[in-house]
């Protein structure tokens, strides 16, 4: 049984079949819609003229291109898992207890709400197809929008809202966009992207209250808002696992090992809901990105079927914002040396992070997809790169690596 019918759950079902699993597969999803791909929700789905196809309209079709009947997967939609009794191998659902032999947890993450705004009309999150559908009228009627949080989702939504002709203000409690994940040398040019798109970016200004039709900031200023979109992070959707016999970490993530096994026998975990120890980076990682939901299930399925594969990916994600493709691969810390590759005020540039031993740890690229593709391979084989060559954008990144 697989709990969670997002990318990670669907990929698990596909991987199990590809690897030869012939027994029953039940795939439980709490949303009523057929399984769908989330990245377009903050992009194409918001801007398409017609309602999204996955929501019954004729527009952008975000449904996965998977024939669940042909795969022999018993898809149970609109059915929420409420509890797990790992000792008895039973998942409790709204439709009663369901026994399993093997279980894969793929319940993903839920977006964090602003305190005090639950149920307030005009306040939106953006995670699901229904969330995106609820935001379409906001864009269609060109309402004045306040986005809370200058992170990845905030920037993508602001991009779409500006394209639709909305007046957009983005408020960020920290002093710059993406302060938790990227250094100033990278985020400074991003300020220019907001400005160039006509978005009013206000940093260092926490929200003190959301009222009907307005957002009040800590500095006392009041922003009129036809709609408020909150993008301030996500947490593993694991509340239902409390007391289940599956260990959860302080961050709420299912604690998996490097084989993606949980602490309960026969139970694996993949995607946004689980953390795992990375030998590559020497720390436990909780990755909330699409690529992790694509790769992890291969390992979990192989191990569920008796294999012994270690999961130690090079994390990867992308963001489409303000007419640019931003891509990031790897994982860096403040201890790594940052190497600029091109001018951050230009249209296309990259940055590399090198460890003390010269090994490429991570890369961020703006409209330089070849740098990204080459870096992913270099990082995967822990290749050292020459800092001077890496700093030269005319030298292919692969050529900056020491020959293995």
């Amino acid at each position: 049984m697989i709990v969670g019918a997002g990318m990670a759950g669907v990929q698990t079902a596909m991987a199990l079949r590809e690897l030869g699993w012939r027994e029953d597969i039940t795939l439980l999803g709490d949303e009523p819609h057929p399984p769908y791909d989330r990245p377009p929700l903050s992009k194409a789905v918001l801007l398409d003229a017609a309602a999204p196809a996955g929501a019954g309209g004729a527009g952008v079709d975000v449904r996965f291109d998977v024939d669940f009947d042909a795969l022999g997967v018993d898809l149970r939609l609109g059915l929420r898992a409420q509890a797990l009794h790992a000792a008895d191998r039973i998942v409790v659902t709204e439709a009663g207890p369901l026994p399993y032999d093997h279980l894969v947890l793929a319940t993903g993450a839920y977006p964090v709400a602003l305190p005090g705004t639950a149920g307030l009309p005009g306040v939106h999150l953006l995670r699901t197809l229904d969330d995106a559908a609820a935001l379409r009228p906001v864009l269609d009627s060109r309402q004045q929008v306040v986005v809370v949080g200058a992170g990845w989702i905030g920037a993508e939504f602001a991009t779409a809202a500006r394209q639709a002709g909305c007046e957009v203000t983005v408020v960020e409690a920290a002093d710059r966009p993406l302060s938790g994940v990227l250094p100033e040398v990278v985020t400074t040019p991003m300020r220019g992207w907001y400005a160039e798109a006509g978005v009013d970016l206000r940093t260092g200004t926490p929200v003190s209250a959301v009222e009907p039709g307005a957002v009040v900031l800590a500095d006392g200023s009041r922003l009129a808002a036809g709609a408020v979109v909150v993008g301030v992070g996500a947490r593993p959707a694991t509340g239902w696992l409390a007391g289940s016999g599956v260990e959860l970490g302080e961050d709420g993530a299912v604690v998996a090992d490097d084989r993606l096994r949980t602490t309960a026998p026969g139970v694996f975990a993949v995607g946004d809901c689980a953390s795992f120890p990375s030998a590559r980076y020497g720390e436990r990682m909780l990755i909330h990105h699409w690529d992790n939901a694509l790769q992890g299930p291969r390992t979990a399925a192989a191990n569920l079927l008796g294999g012994d594969e270690r999961y130690d990916p090079v994390p990867y994600f992308w963001s489409e914002q303000f007419g640019r493709f931003v891509q990031y691969a790897g994982h860096h810390t403040d201890a790594d040396t940052l190497v600029l590759r091109g001018d951050p005020d230009s249209a296309a540039w990259s940055v590399c992070w090198l460890r003390a031993d010269g090994v490429l740890a991570a890369v961020l690229v703006v409209d330089r997809p070849r740098d990204l593709a080459q870096a992913r391979k270099l990082i995967a084989r822990s290749a050292a790169v020459d800092p001077a060559l890496a700093a030269d954008p005319t030298v292919p990144l692969a050529a900056a690596a020491a020959r293995a």
Binding site: D65, L294, Q295, R298, W318, F325, Q327, R370, A373
Partner: protein
Amino acid sequence: MTATDSYVRVCALGDLVEDTPQRVEVDGVPVSVVRTAGDVFAINDICSHANVSLSEGEVEDCQIECWLHGSSFDLRTGKPSGLPATRPVPVYPVKIVGDDVLVSVTQES
């Protein structure tokens, strides 16, 4: 070119840089032309997984990789060799005549 000859000249062989795909259009079809390992291949430029141009991607071991999602395809057969794509991409026959690279999109090879 005669009526029975559906091959269209897309570029000069000398224009193609080894392992660097070049996007061309043949009869309205976007095609990625790749010179690699001593041969020239033509593959539909749009990834079968999502609307992404393959010609922006990297070529290695006769595979072309989608730069956004990471799917890869065999340049010889169009078959997917890496996730997330599960469906093939059309590949087309290529003829080299002198220094001219000719591609036919009316027949999939």
